[in-house]
C-alpha cells in the first residue's frame, strides 16, 4: 500500500540501453502518473559503461528511487524456439545452460545464463533490472502482422539480426545472427569489385517488376528453364495478391524520411543479406523446422539500412520486403512499461 503511495509521489525513470559494435545508445524516459514527462537520448562511443555514460544515467536516476534499467540482449548465444513444451524444446536446442522464458504460451526465447551474468557484471555499477530478448521486441513491434500473416520478421540491430518466421503467431523458425562473428570469420568481406559483380548478377537475374505481360513471361521462359514453377498467369496474380499494400504505402512514406539517414555501407547490407539468405536456407532445408514458403519479409530497421538490402532480398530471393523503421530504445522502453504493468 505504501509502495503504491510512494510510487505516486515519485516520478519513474526508465533507462533503456542498446549496445552496438562500438557505441551504446541510452534512452531515458521520465514518467509520472499521467504519462511521459520527458525523454532523452544520448549515444556513447563505448560498448561498456564509461564514466560519461555512468554520470549521464546517474544524473537522472538519482532523482528517484523508482528507476529501472533495461538492456536489450545482444549476446550471440540466444534464440527462440517455436514451442513452450519442455519436452519438445530439447528437440531444437539444449537449454540446460540457458535462461529461457515462454512468450504467451506459444514460443520460447532463450539466452545463455553466462551471458546474462556477463551483462549483469558489465552493468554492475549502474545495475540492471530487465534484460529483454530482441525476439520479444520484434514480436511486440510486429504484433499487428505476426498475428495474421505468414512472413519472415527481421529486427536489424547494429551488428546483429534477430530473424524469425511466423505463421499467424506460430513461430516456425528463429535465429539470432551476429555480424561480429561473421566479420571475424572474414568470409563475407567484399570489396568494390565484388559489389560491381553482384550488381551485374542482379541485373541478369529475374526482376518481378519487369514481369508485366505474357510477352515478358515468354522472354523470361526462354532465358530460364527453371521458371516453370510460375507457369500460369493465375499463379502470378496470386503472387501479387500476397503483397501487403498497406505496409507498402506506409513504407514509402517512411523511406522518404529515411533516405537522408541511410548511411550504412553496401558492405554491411550485403553481409546482412548473406546472413538472411543462409538462415532461410537452413529454415527450408532443416527437417526440424516446419517449412512454409515465405513470400513476405517485414524488417524492423533499428540502424538505418540502405535500400540495397531490400533490393537484394527482393531480387535475389523473390521476397516482398517491407521495411519499418524502429526506434529500438523507445521500443525497449515500451516493453519495460509492459513488464512493470
Amino acid at each position: 500500500m505504501f509502495t503504491k503511495l510512494y510510487e505516486r509521489l515519485y516520478v519513474k525513470v526508465l533507462v533503456s540501453i542498446i549496445t552496438g559494435y562500438k557505441k551504446t545508445t541510452v534512452y531515458i524516459e521520465i514518467l509520472n502518473k499521467s504519462g511521459i514527462l520527458n525523454s532523452y537520448e544520448e549515444e556513447f562511443d563505448t560498448k561498456y559503461v564509461s564514466i560519461e555514460m555512468y554520470e549521464y544515467i546517474m544524473s537522472y536516476t538519482k532523482e528517484t528511487p523508482y528507476f529501472y534499467i533495461s538492456i536489450l540482449d545482444s549476446s550471440p548465444s540466444q534464440g527462440a524456439i517455436g514451442t513452450c513444451s519442455k519436452h519438445k524444446v530439447g528437440y531444437f536446442e539444449d537449454l540446460s545452460a540457458s535462461e529461457y522464458k515462454c512468450y504467451k504460451d506459444r514460443w520460447t526465447y532463450y539466452t545463455a545464463k553466462t551471458d546474462v551474468y556477463a551483462i549483469e557484471k558489465v552493468y554492475e555499477k549502474i545495475g540492471v533490472d530487465f534484460i529483454f530478448s530482441p525476439f520479444v521486441l520484434l514480436a511486440n513491434f510486429f504484433k499487428d502482422k505476426i498475428d495474421t500473416h505468414l512472413a519472415m520478421f527481421i529486427l536489424i540491430q547494429e551488428g546483429s539480426l534477430a530473424l524469425s518466421v511466423f505463421n499467424k503467431s506460430e513461430l516456425l523458425y528463429a535465429n539470432y545472427l551476429d555480424m561480429e562473428i561473421e566479420i571475424a570469420s572474414d568470409e563475407l568481406l567484399i570489396d568494390d569489385n565484388d559489389i560491381a559483380q553482384i550488381e551485374k548478377e542482379m541485373q541478369e537475374s529475374i526482376d518481378l517488376d519487369d514481369i508485366a505481360s505474357l510477352d515478358d513471361l515468354d522472354e523470361i521462359d526462354d532465358n530460364f528453364g527453371d521458371i516453370a514453377d510460375l507457369d500460369s498467369i493465375d499463379e502470378l496474380d496470386d503472387f501479387d495478391e500476397a503483397k501487403d499494400i498497406e505496409e507498402e504505402l506506409a513504407e514509402n512514406e517512411d523511406m522518404q524520411d529515411y533516405s537522408t539517414r541511410n548511411t550504412e555501407s553496401i558492405n554491411e547490407d550485403y553481409k546482412r543479406f548473406s546472413l538472411i539468405q543462409s538462415a532461410v536456407n537452413i529454415f527450408y532445408k532443416d527437417e526440424k523446422f516446419e517449412s512454409e514458403f515465405i513470400e513476405n519479409v517485414y524488417i524492423g530497421d533499428g540502424v538505418g539500412v540502405s535500400g540495397d538490402l531490400k533490393k537484394y532480398l527482393e531480387e535475389e530471393m523473390f521476397l516482398n520486403v517491407y521495411v519499418r523503421h524502429v526506434d529500438l530504445a523507445s521500443e525497449l522502453c515500451a516493453i519495460t512499461k509492459m513488464d512493470l504493468a
Partner: protein, 193 residues
C-alpha cells in the same frame, strides 16, 4: 506479463543517501531519547534521594532533640550532683567543725541539725565549762543561742543547747537540713558508744 530474463531489483525509498540520513537521525534521536531517559532517571533518583535525605534529616533532628534533651537532663543531673556534692562537703565540714567545737570535758549525747539551727544534748561537769568552752563558740556562729540545764545522777549537768541562725543564713543551711535526720541518728549511736 514478464518478458525479462531477470527480475527487477526491489525498489525502496531507502536509497544509500536515505539510509545514511536515517542512520544519522536515528542515532541522534536515540541519543536524545537516551539523554532524556537518563535525565528522567536521574531526576527520579534525585527526588528519591531528596525524600530519603529529608526523612533522614527529620529523624536526625528528632534524635538531636532527644540527645539535647538528654544533655540538658544530664547537665541538670550534673548540676544537681555537684550541688549535692558541695552541700555534702559543706555538711561534712559543718559536722566536723561542730565536733571540733565540742571540748573534751563535755560529752554530747545527741545532736540535731535543724533547718536553721542546731540542737545539742549532752553532759557537762558544770555550767562554767559549758558557758566558756561550748556556748562561746556557738554564739559566734549562731545568731541566737538558748541553753537549759538539769542535773544528772552523777552530779554533772545535762544540757540542751538550741541555736538558731537568722533567715539570711537559712539558704546556706538548707541542704544540711535534709541530712539532719540521718545525722541525728548517727550522733545518737556515737553517744551511746
Amino acid at each position: 506479463m514478464m518478458y525479462s530474463y531477470i527480475k527487477p531489483r526491489k525498489k525502496s525509498l531507502f536509497t544509500p543517501e536515505m539510509q545514511l540520513l536515517s542512520i544519522f537521525f536515528g542515532i541522534t534521536i536515540f541519543m536524545l531519547l537516551g539523554t532524556y531517559l537518563f535525565l528522567l532517571f536521574k531526576d527520579y533518583r534525585f527526588t528519591q534521594d531528596r525524600s530519603e535525605i529529608i526523612e533522614l534529616r527529620e529523624a536526625t533532628s528528632m534524635e538531636i532533640d532527644l540527645i539535647q534533651k538528654s544533655i540538658i537532663s544530664i547537665e541538670e543531673e550534673k548540676v544537681l550532683s555537684e550541688t549535692v556534692f558541695t552541700k555534702n562537703t559543706v555538711l561534712k565540714d559543718s559536722i566536723a567543725n561542730m565536733f571540733d567545737l565540742v571540748p573534751q570535758r563535755i560529752t554530747l549525747s545527741e545532736a540535731k541539725l535543724l533547718e536553721n539551727g542546731l540542737v545539742l544534748y549532752g553532759v557537762t561537769p558544770n555550767k562554767d565549762i559549758y558557758n566558756f568552752m561550748l556556748q562561746a563558740p556557738l554564739r559566734s556562729i549562731f545568731h541566737r543561742t538558748y541553753s537549759s540545764f538539769y542535773p544528772a545522777e552523777n552530779g554533772w549537768l545535762h544540757f540542751v543547747s538550741t541555736n538558731y541562725v537568722d533567715k539570711e543564713e537559712e539558704i546556706i543551711m538548707k541542704p544540711i537540713d535534709e541530712e539532719t535526720q540521718e545525722d541525728d541518728a548517727k550522733e545518737e549511736i556515737e553517744d551511746e558508744e
